[in-house]
């Protein structure tokens, strides 16, 4: 498409070079830094410096999830075969295991996850302990247990438990397979999705409005097609979102590396059992939501003549997006609360569909054919939104000064 590459490059450069963008990005990095340092600061002031009782060849426990019941005293009561001791951070745990002070270490990274560390190739958890851990998994208190043994890695998850208990996998509640990881990933994806759509929508609306009011658009139209201009803006906006994401993730990783505090987050282990294909689907749905709604925002911006009007009009897609977002959040919070038929139906509705699908993918097993069908439909919606918006854009931009209402718009679009 003629001029598309130039529009993308120009729009992208224009946004990322803006002082407001650089300042807000720097602000986000500072926020991440603060978030990473807060636990360290709290820990620093609340740390108990009393010596940690680690007995040679005995187990240690790192309790990073105070909500559960695995405190050393309780463990000692149930598993007298081990002499339990508690450490205060991951480094102490690793040192105890590596130095041989402890036969193995159990690390409760949060209420749902346990890591087992050992350097002893011959080590195996006692049947007593293994049974308990498996029961915790089966009862959904823990989503998976990652055993990092000296020469092998093993994950105890629902599937493992089902096999160990000779139960068919089909008999397991499907959402158990995704479990708490699904809730976390789903919530995160919905938040990322809504932030991306709303911030990009605002940027695109402002850009279209500016070109319209400054009349640059007349020059643009003599140089490239309206579709190329709009598509360029949307792609540039997506690239800006990607740049922001890369900068923030990199900053997080660097900060984690230097502070050692984010290890809990990175090493949480909660995602071990999360199917990678779901990540792919979720990214696709976020991108499709982003593209479709960005086009709608651009089309809407073209119909108005000033910033105040555009803000008013922006409320309409915002309601759709927020409605879909809260619906998704509701589904993730309580999957059984919403009727399956209802969520299936809304999975086919344009613009709401990606959000509904993000929630569905993380709460229930869906047939691959249905997922692919909805992805295909969303692609069609995105193309439809692009074509419709390009038409509105071209028509309304050139009628600057004319009062445009829905009736007028409909008549013009249908050629009546």
């Amino acid at each position: 498409m003629k001029g598309l590459k130039s529009v993308i490059s120009f729009e992208y450069t224009n946004i990322v070079k803006r002082k407001s963008y650089i300042i807000s990005l720097a602000f986000y990095v500072v926020i991440i830094l603060a978030i990473n340092f807060i636990p360290a600061i709290i820990d620093f002031f609340s740390r108990d410096d009393a010596p940690v009782g680690i007995v040679a060849n005995h187990a240690v426990i790192l309790d990073e999830a105070p909500a559960h019941n695995f405190d050393p005293a309780l463990l000692a009561e149930f598993f007298p075969e081990y002499n339990w001791a508690q450490v205060h951070n991951a480094q102490q745990l690793e040192e105890a295991v590596i130095s041989g002070q402890a036969a193995f270490g159990l690390r409760f990274t949060d209420v749902n996850n346990v890591q087992m560390l050992t350097t002893d190739a011959a080590f195996a958890p006692s049947p007593h302990l293994l049974e308990l851990l498996m029961r915790e998994v089966a009862n959904r208190h823990i989503s998976d247990i990652h055993l990092s043994l000296a020469d092998m890695d093993m994950t105890i998850n629902h599937e493992f438990v089902a096999l160990a208990q000779d139960e068919p996998l089909a008999g397991i509640d499907p959402d158990m397979l995704i479990g708490p990881a699904g809730s976390i990933v789903g919530n995160f994806a919905l938040i990322i999705g809504i932030i991306a759509v709303m911030s990009s929508g605002g940027t695109i609306m402002a850009s279209v409005m500016k070109e319209k009011t400054s009349k640059i658009v007349e020059l643009l139209f003599t140089s490239a097609s309206p579709t190329a201009i709009m598509l360029g803006k949307v792609i540039a906006s997506a690239l800006v979102a990607l740049t922001t994401g890369i900068v923030l993730i990199t900053a997080t990783m660097v900060i984690v590396q230097f502070t050692d505090m984010g290890e809990v987050v990175i090493d949480a282990g909660i995602l071990y059992a999360y199917p990678p294909i779901l990540f792919v689907y979720i990214i696709i749905f976020i991108i499709l939501a982003f593209i479709s709604l960005s086009f709608i925002y651009a089309g809407l911006a073209a119909t108005v003549s000033d910033t105040q009007e555009s803000s008013t009009l922006a409320v309409m897609p915002m309601f759709i997006v927020l409605g879909a977002f809260y619906l998704g959040m509701g589904m993730l919070g309580n999957p059984s609360f919403i009727s399956e038929t209802f969520v299936r139906v809304i999975s086919f509705i344009p613009f709401v569909s990606p959000f509904a699908m993000i929630a569905r993918l993380n709460t229930m097993l869906l047939p691959t054919a249905e997922i692919l069908l909805i992805i295909g439909l969303n692609m069609i919606y995105a193309v439809g939104a692009a074509l419709l918006s390009a038409r509105i854009y071209r028509m309304c931009i050139m009628l600057f000064g004319t009062k445009i209402n829905l009736r007028f718009l409909f008549k013009r679009l249908t050629g009546r």
Partner: protein, 284 residues
């Protein structure tokens, strides 16, 4: 190159803004599009540029539709618009690239035009730091960036001081010498007379007058005569329709006023314009 605008009609809602508009323009010549504000000049230019479509009619280049003819077009819109926060050279290169130029070619062309426009020192400046007149010059530079074959300029001289106006005139004349086809609208009749070989006068969306400017002036029935009396007084009056001056001479003799000289004056474009588009017409 022959550009034919044939029977163009355009409606904005119920408002019939162009009514069967037809005229022609050819390369190495400049056509002045004249008319009062709101009478359809800009709409006509936008239709030629393909920014908007006419409801009926055709725009032909050498007998074939102009659209997709591959000919390069340059346009200076009536409304001046630039990216206010973007450097001048950067935005010129952007528009060059949009029109299919390589970045290097666009940069070279932009640098050359900035030099001709006397604006080299503004290369790295942002548009919002430039005066209105200078922004207008940049826009003309953008219009000429890809060496277009057809150049359409909507009110190119409005708001320019005489020095900048002269710079623009030179640039337009240079384009005429390079066999470009130029159409421009203007309210400044003196400039139109100076530049244009052809004119098209539009009133309320209808073409009232079109063709070669000299022929129009020659054929225009309302010549003036200039009488210089022996006392040195200059008197201007309408020439008789039959061209016979003897009756006027007789009237002067009767009043006892001696005549030094008497000459016939062709009407100015301004006079034709005022006559055709109408004094006392409120316009749109």
């Amino acid at each position: 190159m022959l550009l034919e605008i044939k029977n163009i009609n355009k409606f904005y809602g119920d408002n019939h803004v162009l009514k069967d508009v037809s005229f022609t323009a050819s390369s190495s010549r400049t056509l002045g599009l004249l008319g009062r504000n709101g009478h359809g000049k800009t709409t006509c230019m936008k239709i030629i540029m393909g920014i908007i479509y006419g409801d009926s009619g055709e725009v032909l280049l050498n007998g074939a539709p102009l659209k997709n003819s591959g000919v390069k077009l340059g346009y200076l819109p009536e409304e001046r618009g630039l990216y206010q926060k973007v450097q001048i050279l950067e935005q010129m290169v952007y528009f060059g690239k949009l029109r299919g130029m390589s970045a290097a070619a666009a940069r070279a062309s932009a640098a050359g035009l900035l030099e001709k426009l006397g604006m080299t020192e503004y290369t790295k400046k942002k548009a919002d730091s430039l005066s209105k007149g200078n922004q207008q010059k940049i826009q003309l530079g953008i219009a000429l960036l890809n060496d277009p074959d057809i150049i359409i300029l909507d009110e190119p001289f409005s708001g320019l001081d005489p020095v900048n106006s002269k710079i623009l005139q030179n640039l337009i004349l240079e384009s005429v010498e390079k066999s470009k086809l130029i159409i421009f609208s203007s309210h400044q009749m003196a400039q139109v007379e100076e530049f244009c070989q052809d004119v098209c006068l539009i009133k309320h969306g209808e073409v009232k007058l079109t063709g070669n400017l000299r022929e129009i002036k020659n054929s225009y029935p309302k010549d003036k005569i200039l009488v210089i009396t022996e006392a040195g007084e200059e008197l201007k009056m309408d020439a008789p329709q039959d061209g016979d001056l003897s009756q006027i001479i007789a009237e002067f003799r009767q009043k006892g006023v001696g005549i030094e000289s008497i000459s016939v004056l062709k009407p100015s474009l301004l006079e034709i314009f005022l006559e055709k588009v109408g004094e006392g017409d409120e316009g749109a």
